[in-house]
Symmetry: C2
Subunit: 365 residues, 2 copies
Amino acid sequence: MSLKDLTAKNIFLHKPYIPGKQPSNFEQTIKLNTNENPYPPSPRISKSILKQIDALARYPNSSADSLRLTIAKLHNVDVGQVIVGNGSDDILNLCVRCFSDYSKSIGMFDPSYSLYEVLGSMQGVEVKKFAFSDPKFEIEPEIISQSGTNLFFLTSPHAPSGRIYNNSIFSSALHQYSGILVIDEAYADFAPFNALSMLNESKRVIITRTLSKSYSLAGLRVGYALASSGIISILNKVREVYNVDRLAQHIAEIALNDREYFEKTKSNILSVRENTHQIFTKWNWKTYESGANFLFTQPIDSRGLFGEEIALNLFNFLSANNVLIRYFPSNPLTSSFLRISIGKQEEMDMLLNLISKWKTTDQQM
Amino acid sequence: MSLKDLTAKNIFLHKPYIPGKQPSNFEQTIKLNTNENPYPPSPRISKSILKQIDALARYPNSSADSLRLTIAKLHNVDVGQVIVGNGSDDILNLCVRCFSDYSKSIGMFDPSYSLYEVLGSMQGVEVKKFAFSDPKFEIEPEIISQSGTNLFFLTSPHAPSGRIYNNSIFSSALHQYSGILVIDEAYADFAPFNALSMLNESKRVIITRTLSKSYSLAGLRVGYALASSGIISILNKVREVYNVDRLAQHIAEIALNDREYFEKTKSNILSVRENTHQIFTKWNWKTYESGANFLFTQPIDSRGLFGEEIALNLFNFLSANNVLIRYFPSNPLTSSFLRISIGKQEEMDMLLNLISKWKTTDQQM
């Protein structure tokens, strides 16, 4: 039998998720493409990590009890409403495995986080993608409620635009929809408000969070979900029993408890985001109001033109100058825009200098 | 709709894996129940870990390139023949997701590692369990080749007996079987030989390894598989792109490269295993020749009796004295035995003293 015949049919046809580019040499690159945090994580980590090394010989706490308690206190929910994952991607995967099958389809808006579709494909289930009908990326609750799906993924703040949504939209969606609604709040710490109050409105809502962005821990792989205890019990059935390692549990807890450091780095990022947004606005570049640690902006070239070719041109120009940002060519709502993670002010200054150079020369055509 | 109606049918019926007991207080417990390594991991780790903390703000290398290169060199295989997982449990899960579906069933011997069945249940596929026909836990290659399965899991050295298998058995199985054979070598570093040469015999064999046992890194969650590059490519389609975090990649590489420390702790464990085995033999306790870091032994009480009740009695007695070992009651081939992880000599001495006390009193009935 060929390897093709030996492979599960949906996996043979499956196209994996493609992550953002990771450079081999960080020193020479300004990395603004995967919405990481430009600051190091809490300095408290180094002080206590060495004591944890010898304990690595022992399996981790399989239910991450201490970390879950910290998360529960932070959000004022019961510890039974918390599950921790090897990154929030792990949690999203658990949602798909638990709440979709041959007769239970998945819904998502397009564009949003492309991993939802990848996870559905791995599960071999139907994924219904609903194109946003306007460039504001408005969510119409009726689309969710009439989707005929069992599980629906929303990204809030939206990616890649960064726009925020009022809770009344989720409230209305939950009221009309009979399935399970996942609100992926990967970027919510950078937004003026969040959807946590939805947990009181429905036992069918799952809110996912990550420590990869606001806590400077993309390299550690820790995410979590908040939901009703009934939902969490089901997700736990599929969770790998030791999915989060000892160091990750320990470091995540320290980072979550260091509120002062969290607020300081967050406020730096918000202020750099505001400065950068103002400059784009001064240039007349259409830029979405962002509740995330990135900006989605439509570049205008020296001739005053914008569009797919212009965006791609600036993307390539920056890439050639070791500045990594993200470009999403496949969708008309995104193909004339670029997504730029918020780095440190000095990184953004270098970026803006490069763009100024690009803006005022005719090199692009 | 009820949560039951919203849950995928196979998940609603699914029974999760139950991990070995993890005590909350290590100081008061002698922990010999989950085959961890009693020694701390390589001392080189502490020296270099602090430099890694700040880099945690960045996503890990998504294909663990440097770690995979280290593994490839260690086993003298091509780097394209290596995949790294969040523990070898992650790899076993990838095998199930890639090579089983509604028409492709899974095979395994009973007893062996119970997770295989759990993963099959999560996938919603048929798992065929073949009971060992004799107490020697012999593998008959015909059972594999005539199983009608697409994917077969073998544990070598066997768990929970610890017995080793000659490669001629695997060779013969691979020759007759048309499916994919996984040889789970979690404990192979403690055995006199291993099955790596099978990689040259077949493109349908997958050998899984873990750093949880021989490298003292159960708390870190790093495992890997070696197979043909065709198999590895398919497994990679389903692997979460950032499944192994930065610290785990870094620490695993250090541990794999510190051969001197590895050999030293391994030889300590082999020598303590031998000492303990000799004592059990002196007591006339039937004990399997072990190629792993545990012993599987049949306790005899003060009246000279053995059996299910006797084994359970000693298990409970040790547990009451804060010594954790493992008991497998459900199978007649295991229910009169106990599985004891090899700890440090002083831990084994305390264990043996406690057993001597139990052996010479009538408290057990």
